[in-house]
């Protein structure tokens, strides 16, 4: 395999460095173009990934691999990155602290994890992404950043201990070695504890309830860009790590799938419940994210090829919606939302589409992915998990309808109900706010090739 396959990673890392240096070197008048340049770079990286990533192979003596899973995961991450950057363009004040280099590093960490062949590379990719995401969040909210760093450190420690035990047990750090060394007969109490520690570490980054601090509490206390990085990109990276890791632990699935199923159920139910009672659209979006992450992990808990394919399909939909939802929702709540509908109708419409997709409402991208997972849950005799998931989805839809009601059915304070010639507040049409929603719709329309790619990706994980 040629090293040109690394071109997307080079573009991402190079852009990050250039953006970092550019701020120091270029005069301030050029900074206004940083966002657009970053967007172009992300689009180029995605194009390169789709072009060059189709070739399967390994580099660095097998330390880095490109397979269909890596292709799907990186493409999804880069799509999420594009949406996140695009959503930051309509609030330029967020870019004053120059968070974009760190955003690119989050994506880079995810790309490393997607191509990882060993536990060390998985850990490194996830930790780089987590640190960068916390940096994005902490740039404008230092105190929240410190808390997030501490929370993330707990996850990192759990993961490190778990990985160390697994390496010691298998005598090999590679995922292939892990798969070969561990047998169903290897399951004992110590291995189970190690696996549970590892999973808990991943769950903290994934935002799985009851470990949703990073994705929800953290996301709500930082800027929309920071929330998108934490709740969108980082969750995507954690899902990629979980998929790769659990494929390596397939032979000892009895040690982890019940725990993962319970965590999934908790996430789906708690996410739906909290979303249905949340006060602001941003909080609703954060909790809907938790519920949808539950569906991702439910797909993985089915521990087979089709379940993982469903999980990947949900992950793609989640990345698109969760990265942009905080930027669209911002801080408005209550009657301000009615004003949002009047003053920024496209933004309001975009927000509705994203929330409905996160809630799994048909016929949007989230629903298609969740249906694929649901089919696999029935096939895997996890009907109880499906029942909990459906209840969570019902609550999620209720939450989305509550926001729709506030947006479209309440009268804003500045909206004259009657009277001719009354002055209306100025209306802003910003088509760029509709980009994430259009991406979600495109994901739905292209569900056929995407689901095929997800299935190939799951097959690359060598699951039964």
């Amino acid at each position: 395999m040629r090293t040109t396959a690394l071109a997307p990673e080079v573009v991402i890392l190079g852009t990050s460095l250039l953006l970092l240096l550019g701020r120091r070197v270029l005069p301030p008048s050029y900074r206004a173009w940083f966002g657009a340049a970053a967007l172009v770079a992300a689009v180029v990286a995605l194009g390169l990934e789709l072009w060059l990533g189709a070739a399967v192979g390994t580099l660095f003596d097998g330390g880095w691999q490109q397979d269909r899973f890596a292709l799907f995961a990186k493409a999804a991450l880069l799509l999420g990155l594009i949406v996140l950057i695009a959503s930051s363009l309509w609030s330029p004040s967020e870019l004053e602290e120059n968070p974009l280099p760190a955003v690119f590093v989050v994506a880079f960490g995810g790309m490393v994890a997607a191509s990882a062949t060993s536990l060390v590379a998985l850990w490194a990719g996830l930790e780089v992404a987590a640190l960068a995401a916390i940096a994005v969040a902490g740039l404008s909210a230092r105190e929240a950043g410190t808390r997030l760093l501490l929370t993330s450190a707990v996850g990192a420690a759990l993961l490190a201990v778990g990985f160390a035990f697994l390496i010691a047990t298998a005598g090999d750090a590679s995922l292939a070695g892990l798969r070969t060394a561990l047998r169903p007969s290897s399951v004992n109490l110590s291995l189970t504890l190690a696996v549970l520690l590892t999973l808990t570490g991943v769950a903290i980054r994934l935002g799985l309830a009851p470990f949703q601090w990073l994705a929800v509490e953290g996301g709500l206390s930082v800027t929309p860009l920071g929330a998108g990085a934490l709740g969108g990109l980082l969750v995507g990276v954690a899902a990629i790590v979980a998929a790769r890791l659990l494929a390596g632990l397939e032979s000892v699935n009895m040690a982890w799938w019940p725990w993962l199923a319970v965590l999934s159920a908790a996430a789906m139910l708690l996410g739906g419940l909290r979303a249905a009672t949340a006060g602001s659209p941003r909080a609703v979006a954060a909790w809907l994210l938790v519920a949808q992450v539950g569906w991702v992990s439910a797909g993985l808990a089915a521990h087979d090829r089709r379940g993982s394919a469903g999980a990947l399909l949900v992950m793609g939909a989640l990345l698109l919606a969760a990265t942009a939802a905080p930027a669209l929702a911002r801080g408005e709540e209550g009657l301000q939302l009615a004003a949002l509908r009047r003053n920024q109708p496209l933004r309001a419409l975009g927000l509705v589409v994203l929330l409905l997709s996160l809630a799994g409402a048909p016929p949007l991208a989230g629903f298609v992915g969740q249906f694929a997972v649901a089919a696999e849950l029935v096939r895997s005799n996890l009907a109880w998990l499906l029942a909990v998931g459906l209840l969570g989805s019902l609550l999620s839809v209720v939450a989305a309808v509550r926001v729709i009601r506030l947006l479209y059915l309440e009268t804003s304070p500045d909206q004259p109900r009657t009277g001719r010639g009354a002055r209306m507040p100025e209306r802003t049409w910003s088509p760029v706010t509709l980009v994430p929603a259009l991406m979600v719709l495109l994901y739905t329309l292209l569900a056929n090739p995407i689901s095929g790619l997800a299935l190939q990706g799951a097959a690359a994980l060598k699951l039964p």
């Binding site: 249906f371 694929a372 009907a383 019902l394 839809v397 309808v401």
Partner: protein
């Protein structure tokens, strides 16, 4: 299986037989619209047309002052065009072929086993026609919507697209997709434009319909898994034969899904609230078509696929049907709110529909499909006219909205027609369909049929009370001055009454010198498909003395204990169902 042959087998008398419409003796000749349009994408147009127009409504610039009805106009012309297309499709439908027509099949998500598969048979066409008529009526009923008209009509058109989608989907994923897709728009319509308790109504709707959607999804997935199928196509899954216990679980899940939508006691909470609180247009749409989808799923998925489960569940369904009718009547007698009273009355056609499914005989199933259409019109008429009357009278209490016949004659009489349609009086479409249901189910579910009949008699008392107070009682001098139906109100209620009368008077379609003209006849359209579907439940003929006493000739234990002399049902679509009807009619 001929309807009349079945009736003979049941021993019904000649007067009743004469009242039952029979399919035409000869295949329909050239009808209006035949071969005018040979769309291979007719069904896609019916499903996606309203959805695209919803998008157009969402993005067109705000109309200038004085052009307040722009959004209404878009919805009206969309519905008018859809109705015209449905009528052409209805006329062109090969009434004597039981297979799918206007079929479209494309791979959509092959990796998940999901196809874009649309197709329509007699049952689906009846539902499409119902949605076309009710949709147009509901648009006119929304004439007075001024506040937030854009959002209202966007949601309105999305609901219609979803209903058409359910009617024509042949892939169970797509059916589920459209089934669920109606929920959010109906909830938004109720929450936005409803009465004082609109939030509670929308919340209940979300809860009940969400439960139904979850049950449907679980049922479909279990069926898919049990079948070991690689796709969700209805034709493939209908050939699956899950084990008895699994079939019962699937059947219960389908029944729960259907009963939450139809609705039946104890899943009726949303209907009571929504029909009493939502604006007239939404009431007409929900009572008329959205709720009929429950009956459709009951026929298509429960009775159509899970035969053993249907037989097991039939007594429970019959009991629930009877309970629903009796509950509706008792509740109607105990309320003093004219809209709630009408909401309770609107539950009755759903109860009778389920009785037909519980009957599990060819006759009752044909009656059920007919009643999907007629019952939808009747429920829409009674609930819609009560909503409009309460609006015009500016009062909902029977104490205030009293003695209106003199001041609002049109609305009062239209409400009366709606009530009579719920009762199923002759000359209205509910009569022949209700009669088929009763005669078809009285042998298999006698207790439930009699209980429903008693319920209908009591409903007559409730209706007499309603009409006595509202229309012909002494006017309340303290009540606000009422206004009669506007032109739009008259038109929307007139469309519903006209359709009820048309099908009631000529269910087999009008004929000129024995040749069908204008309308091939609803009973002809639904009969062949339903006969195929019902063939699994037809009584098995007794072995003739000449036949060999082989074990295969003995009647199946699951069929009716009384053997029928009628010929065995043939699933073959080729012979006209009426071919065997003609000799049976001549004594």
């Amino acid at each position: 299986m001929s309807l009349v042959a079945v009736l003979h087998a049941l021993g019904a008398g000649a007067p009743l037989m004469a009242a039952i419409p029979t399919p035409s003796a000869t295949p329909a000749q050239v009808n209006f619209g035949a071969n005018v349009i040979g769309f291979s994408f007719l069904l896609s147009l019916l499903v996606w047309g309203p959805a695209v127009m919803a998008l157009v409504t969402a993005i067109v610039p705000e109309p200038r002052t004085g052009q307040r009805r722009t959004f209404l106009g878009i919805a009206f012309w969309t519905n008018a065009a859809a109705l015209a297309l449905v009528i052409i499709g209805y006329s062109q439908l090969q009434a004597y072929t039981s297979g799918l027509q206007f079929e479209e099949k494309l791979p959509w998500l092959p990796s998940l086993g999901i196809n874009y598969h649309l197709g329509v048979d007699g049952i689906g066409m009846a539902l499409l026609l119902l949605n076309g008529l009710v949709g147009l009526a509901a648009t006119l009923a929304s004439w007075d919507v001024r506040e937030g008209a854009r959002t209202y009509f966007v949601m309105f058109l999305l609901v219609q697209a979803a209903i058409n989608g359910v009617a024509v989907s042949r892939d169970l994923f797509m059916l589920l997709l459209f089934w669920a897709a109606a929920t959010v728009p109906v909830a938004v319509l109720t929450a936005g434009w409803g009465g004082p308790r609109r939030s509670a109504a929308a919340g209940r709707l979300l809860a009940y319909w969400g439960l139904g959607t979850a049950a449907l999804m679980a049922g479909i997935l279990i069926l898919y898994t049990a079948a070991g199928s690689s796709d969700f196509d209805l034709d493939t899954l209908s050939k699956a034969a899950p084990s008895g216990r699994l079939q019962l679980i699937i059947g219960i899940l389908f029944a729960v899904a259907a009963l939450t939508r139809l609705p039946l006691v104890p899943f009726h909470g949303w209907a009571r609230e929504l029909l009493a609180e939502a604006p007239a247009g939404v009431v007409v749409l929900v009572a008329g078509t959205a709720s009929r989808l429950g009956g459709y799923v009951l026929i298509r998925l429960l009775a159509g696929i899970e035969h053993d489960a249907s037989r097991t569940l039939a007594p429970f369904l019959g009991a629930l049907a009877a309970l629903t009718v009796l509950y509706a009547v008792v509740a109607a007698l105990n309320t003093s709110d004219v809209r709630r009273l009408a909401a309770y009355l609107a539950l009755i056609p759903g109860g009778v529909t389920v009785l037909g499914v519980a009957g599990l005989s060819p006759l009752s199933l044909v009656g059920t499909v007919m009643l999907l259409f007629a019952g939808g019109l009747a429920a829409a008429l009674v609930a819609g006219s009560a909503a409009t009357l309460a609006d015009r009278a500016q009062a909902r209490s029977l104490g205030l909205a009293a003695g209106l016949a003199g001041r609002t004659p049109k609305l009062s009489w239209l409400l009366l027609v709606g009530c009579l349609a719920v009762l199923g009086v002759p000359f209205l479409a509910t009569f022949p369909s209700g009669l088929m249901v009763f005669l078809g189910s009285v042998r298999t579910q006698p207790g439930a049929a009699i209980a429903v009949l008693v319920g209908l008699l009591l409903a007559a008392v409730a209706i007499a009370r309603l009409m006595h107070r509202v229309a012909f009682g002494a006017p309340n001098p303290d009540a606000p001055t009422p206004a009669d139906a506007s032109l739009a109100d008259s038109w929307y209620l007139g469309i519903l009454v006209g359709a009820l009368l048309w099908v009631g008077l000529v269910p087999s379609g009008p004929k000129l010198f024995g040749i069908p003209v204008v309308d091939p006849g609803l009973v002809n359209i639904v009969n062949t498909t339903t006969a195929d579907l019902a063939s699994a439940y037809a009584p098995t003929p007794l072995p003739t003395p000449a036949s060999s006493p082989s074990p295969s000739a003995s009647p199946s234990p699951s069929t009716s204990p009384s053997p029928s002399p009628s010929p065995s049902p043939s699933p073959s679509p080729s012979p006209s169902p009426s071919a065997s009807a003609s000799p049976a009619r001549s004594p």
